[in-house]
């Protein structure tokens, strides 16, 4: 009887997560036994090796799909896709960080530990088939992120960002829990499959209370993916955080949150699409536009990237709205492409920034004449900026192309028009970087040395290559994305 219970839980299906927890424990142990103040190097190596182990475990289990733990989690192609993507991003961030955390004066092992634990939370999120598991995942991830944002304790902006993020995050957690309660109250379950069955049967006469629950969960997701009007925390948090963490936050947690967003809304609330449409329509329009308009006025490249990441989330909502496989796969494609170009751009920003302890760093001015000073670095930045703008032949172009063609295909022509218009506006601030680099004279007196680290350069190089390769030949990635969402609907 007990054996049957264990077998029914399919523990083996969450092998990657088990490995990850083992890695975390091992990393903590390494921290403890390493000499004081010199533990980050060994911890980093343990983490990197561990993440490779997580990847291996993921790939080993790539044919063992199905539910586990009595339907609490769902292991499918979708989960597999995000496990790989999230592990990769975390690996890259840990890989490039060692020299930077010295510069930012946060050389403590907890930096790596928190990243690993955040990854664990995100893994839970992407496989959660039950709102309670999802809640656990989101909280695990968020608490790690609050800590990571505030890690530069000597910087006021870091403290400010972390505190705001934490207070507002806690605020929205309340909405999420309340939403789960209302859903449970009306459907009698927190399991997505059960919820779907319930909504399908009572579709026409749904109690108001269930709508409130759906709305509250939508709001929680809107907060985590920083959609307008729930975006308030993100610019401050992004600016205050150490820049490697900003790169991390704008890619991995965002990807995980969108993954959970897709699963909950496509599977659990799939039959409510027409009711949710007007609200999501407005959220998409506002998110695309507001992020853009504010990004126009920034003088710091880091803040510009933070605001523009809001806009990019808006594009993703456009694809989400289609409620179709094409839209979902466009989101997956875009998340990967966005991660590549954004991490690349942030790495260049780290290299160029003059003084990490300066509260008002990352100025556009630092890029003056970079094209002649450091041609290769400037070239890389130009590729990232063009891709973020969505100019072919870069990966970013196809990211937008798939999203907007999915939107048009589903009849959201107006939304596609607004989206394309917004991406036309975004030319202004992305191009400003290119202008600074290539069309402004160098001012040698004001130039600060470039911050070089071998591991950063290698990742930057890989990002450039990927942006161009995907820009020339995008379909392989799209077919992976399509295969990953095919089991979902």
């Amino acid at each position: 009887m007990f054996d049957n219970l264990i077998a029914g839980m399919h523990v083996g299906r969450i092998l990657p997560e088990i490995v990850l927890v083992g890695v975390v424990l091992l990393a903590i142990l390494t921290d403890v036994i390493s000499p004081r103040g010199k533990s980050t190097g060994p911890v980093r190596l343990v983490s990197l090796a561990g993440l490779i182990g997580v990847l291996v475990a993921t790939i080993l289990k790539k044919d063992d799909f199905g539910q586990a733990f009595g339907g609490m989690v769902m292991i499918d192609g979708f989960t597999f896709f995000f496990r790989v993507v999230l592990t990769f991003i975390t690996f890259i961030i840990i890989y490039v960080s060692e020299k930077y955390i010295g510069l930012a004066k946060i050389r403590i092992a907890e930096y790596y530990l928190m990243l690993l634990l955040a990854l664990f939370g995100m893994m839970l999120m992407v496989m959660a088939n039950d709102l309670l598991i999802l809640f656990l995942g989101i909280e695990t991830m968020s608490i790690c992120l609050y800590t990571l944002v505030g890690m530069s304790r000597h910087k006021a902006s870091s403290n400010e960002g972390a505190l705001k993020y934490f207070l507002l995050g806690a605020f929205t957690t309340g909405f999420f829990v309340y939403g789960i309660a209302l859903i449970y109250g009306s459907t009698g379950s927190t399991n997505l499959t059960d919820i779907m069955v319930y909504f399908r049967t009572v579709n026409t006469a749904m109690p108001v209370i269930a709508w409130a629950g759906v709305g509250l969960i939508l709001i929680a997701f809107a907060f985590k993916t920083s959609l307008v009007p729930f975006h308030w925390w993100s610019p401050d948090a992004y600016e205050g955080a150490p820049t490697t963490i900003t790169a991390f936050m704008s890619t991995a947690p965002k990807a995980a949150a969108f993954a959970a967003f897709i699963r909950v809304f496509y599977v659990g609330f799939g039959d409510l699409s027409s009711g949710l449409e007007p609200v999501l329509w407005w959220i998409a329009v506002l998110t695309m536009t507001v992020g853009n308009l504010i990004a126009l006025r920034q003088d710091s490249v880091k803040r510009m990237l933070a605001f523009s990441s809001i806009t990019h989330a808006g594009y993703l909502v456009v694809a989400l709205l289609t409620w179709e496989q094409m839209g979902a796969s466009a989101i997956l494609f875009y998340l990967v492409v966005y991660a590549i170009m954004n991490i690349g751009a942030f790495l260049v920003a780290i290299a160029v920034n003059r003084d990490e302890s300066d509260e008002k760093g990352y100025s556009y001015e630092d890029y003056r004449g970079l094209g002649f000073r450091k041609p290769i670095l400037a070239f890389a930045m130009m590729i990232f900026m063009l891709s973020l703008t969505g100019i072919p032949p870069t990966a970013g172009f196809f990211g937008k192309y798939y999203i907007f063609s999915a939107a048009v295909k589903s009849g959201f022509v107006g939304l596609a028009v607004i989206g394309v218009l917004n991406s036309a506006v975004s030319v202004y601030y992305y191009l400003r970087v290119i202008i600074m680099m290539y069309l402004k004279e160098r001012d040698e007196e004001k130039e600060a040395p470039i911050f070089w680290a071998g591991e950063m350069v290698s990742i930057m190089f890989i990002c450039v290559v990927l942006v161009i390769v995907i820009g020339i030949k995008p379909d392989w990635l799209l077919s992976i994305a399509q295969a990953s969402v095919s089991g979902l609907m």
Partner: protein
């Protein structure tokens, strides 16, 4: 025809080589290598054309697949070239003119510290331009379209120094993005309705879908959006404002990109999608009117410009208007014909004006005068005595653009006007616009010649001795272009002179499907009427020439300074205040809106309005160095709560 891929590989090789080794190599090697690569492309273009000519007219459509590009669901696209007579004309013009301008640039850019970068950009431009005209589907065309835009932008900015110019030049990119936005939406819609973006599949599908409901809203919207793209790239009303500013770039760039090739991409795109446009008569009418009005409007601005390159810039806008107008009246082949002859004479005009500027620059440099503008025609005059070769070349091009009989421009412009006259609907209107435009064209072009080359030299004292002819490496390409500007029109003789219109016959298989989709038959004029129209357009040119002669030679008027202008002259001088209007109506509101959004959505406004003074400062943690405004968090929470209420109300109130 697999060798066709070499046409884009040669420029690619050139630019890669110069990117990696150009910095260390002498100018001569860099410049000649880049030029020879384009020369090789030209040879390939010739071979392609000959191969094509060897086929039967109805089989002159060859597709060359380079690789399978995108496969996703129901969209399959190859990275492939479409080679047909229209393509062959475009690649010949692009590679031929580019080759000459590359050689010219070796002389013009001599001594520039970023010589190799210039040639890298120039090669890259040719690469993208060829991709644009060769692509067998809209996405490839669009990649070329964006690529040439980027190169144009980089090359305009090649010499920028100050912030003001940089911002002015950004206009080029932003204005073009407005056009591109139209292109993208049109592309999405086409895919939505037709399920394909490949030209050879798209046109029959469109003819099938809309052939029985010509002028359906969908196809009209699509073609109008395409037209928006074309007005951006080809500098038509309302998006022409960027082109005159683009003249800040080096002159060879103006000649190549902003006169002969890139700006004609819009015309090419309309001609390429002729079937779609024919299915939407309303759009055709709009195309014709936009072309006609641009032709006239830009010509009138040209009258008052003082900068030699600005005159040519507005003249380019105006001539592009003629091409667009030709497409609008269904005379696509006439539009492409004018595209070709225009490439000859306008490249010649720009390069010759570059030689003039080069000469002026040298002369001013000699007397250490750095304040006098070497491009202002008020500082010139009488130059024909000093640089006779440049003078004669300039005159040839001027005669050609003015449409005086026997020169290239005459044949193509006359064909456009005749077709406009013969067409239905707005035909007479656009013919009238084009005719008045022709008078003005002849006027401002000869005004330019008279003020620059005739009369007395008005430059600073002592600088006249420094006026020298440009080196042969610059003048030799000009001579070739001058020959083309004279004889280039004889491939398309009007019906009254010859039964055999070589150019039209060559392009016929391309546009035939467009006509047959709507059962359209071009009208033919009687010989008598044809002669009459020729007489009218020739007299138009002569009248313009005569007025210019009367004013600037006979009466010896010299250009007035800006302050002395009044009334309509001032309006023309200020280009109808279009820049100011755009600034007030489009740009300033956008800036205001973003400032407003910034205020509302960023902390400051909320902080000041809602909770000024509450919970101001709290010291945080041990390392907290500065005061932290926790009050704002409360406001954020308030805004979030408002959002929550709105969303819940929307969902629960259903």
């Amino acid at each position: 025809m697999d060798f066709a891929v070499w046409i884009v590989l040669f420029p690619l090789i050139g630019l890669l080589f110069n990117t990696f080794f150009g910095k260390k190599l002498p100018e001569k090697i860099v410049g000649w290598l880049a030029s020879l690569m384009i020369g090789a492309s030209f040879v390939v273009a010739l071979m392609i054309t000959l191969k094509l000519a060897a086929l039967d007219p109805e089989h002159r459509v060859v597709e060359v697949t380079i690789f399978r590009w995108i496969t996703s669901g129901n969209l399959t696209l190859d990275f492939a070239f479409l080679i047909d007579p229209l393509t062959s004309v475009m690649i010949l013009v692009v590679t031929g003119i580019s080759f000459l301008i590359h050689i010219y640039s070796i002389g013009y850019m001599h001594g520039d510290s970023r010589f190799h970068v210039f040639f890298v950009f120039l090669n890259l431009f040719v690469f993208f331009m060829l991709v644009l005209v060769l692509g067998n589907n809209l996405p490839i065309l669009f990649i070329g379209w964006e690529g040439v835009g980027l190169c144009s932008y980089l090359l305009i900015g090649f010499w920028w120094e100050d912030q003001k110019k940089a911002e002015a030049g950004m206009k080029a990119f932003i204005v073009n993005r407005i056009g591109d936005f139209g292109m993208l939406i049109a592309m999405f819609l086409l895919f939505y309705y037709l399920g394909t973006l490949k030209f050879t599949e798209m046109f029959p599908a469109a003819a099938h879908l809309w052939g029985h409901s010509v002028g359906a809203p969908a196809i009209t919207a699509i073609t109008l959006l395409l037209l928006l793209g074309a007005t951006g790239k080809s500098a038509q009303i309302p998006l022409f404002v960027w082109l005159p500013d683009a003249m800040a770039g080096p002159t060879p760039v103006s000649a190549l990109i902003h006169a002969a090739t890139m700006v004609t991409a819009g015309v090419y795109m309309i001609a390429r999608t002729a079937t779609l446009f024919m299915l939407a008569p309303t759009s055709m009418m709009v195309v014709a009117l936009i072309g006609g009005f641009t032709a006239l409007f830009a010509a009138t601005i040209g009258i008052k410009q003082m900068d030699i390159k600005k005159v040519l810039a507005y003249s380019t806008v105006s001539q592009l208007g003629y091409m667009v107008m030709a497409c609008g009246v269904g005379a696509f082949s006439a539009g492409i014909f004018h595209l070709m002859t225009h490439a000859f004479f306008k490249a010649l005009l720009f390069l010759a004006s570059g030689a003039v500027i080069h000469t002026m620059h040298g002369a001013l440099h000699k007397v250490h005068d750095h304040d006098t503008d070497p491009q202002d025609i008020r500082n010139m005059g009488g130059l024909r005595k000093y640089i006779p070769l440049t003078y004669w070349l300039f005159v040839i091009a001027t005669i050609s653009i003015s449409g005086l009989p026997g020169f290239a421009g005459f044949f193509s412009k006359d064909e456009i006007l005749a077709n406009a006259f013969a067409s239905e609907g707005v035909g007479y209107v656009v013919w009238g616009l084009g005719l008045v435009g022709a008078v003005i064209t002849a006027f401002y072009m000869f005004r330019l010649v008279y003020l620059t080359f005739h009369g007395n030299y008005k430059g600073p004292e002592g600088s006249a001795e420094g006026l020298k002819e440009s080196p042969p490496i610059m003048t030799a390409p000009l001579v070739v272009l001058a020959i083309l500007a004279i004889i280039g029109g004889y491939v398309g003789l009007p019906p009254v002179l010859s039964k055999f219109h070589l150019f039209q016959t060559w392009l016929k298989p391309v546009f035939e499907p467009a006509y047959s989709a709507v059962h359209y038959h071009p009208h033919h004029l009687s010989h008598g009427l044809e002669w009459l129209l020729i007489a009218v357009s020739v007299s138009a040119a002569v009248i313009g020439l005569f007025i210019a002669w009367l004013m600037y030679i006979k009466k010896g008027l010299i250009a007035k300074s800006d302050d002395e202008q009044s009334g309509i002259q001032r309006l023309l001088l200020k280009k109808y205040h279009v820049d100011e209007v755009y600034n007030a109506v489009v740009i300033q509101p956008l800036i205001d809106l973003s400032r407003y959004a910034w205020k509302i959505f960023d902390a400051g406004f909320i902080d000041n309005i809602l909770v000024n003074g509450t919970a101001r400062a709290v010291r945080v943690f041990g390392g907290g160095l500065r005061r932290m405004q926790t009050g704002i968090v409360g406001n954020y929470a308030l805004m979030i709560a408002l959002g929550v209420i709105l969303i819940l109300a929307a969902l629960m109130g259903r």
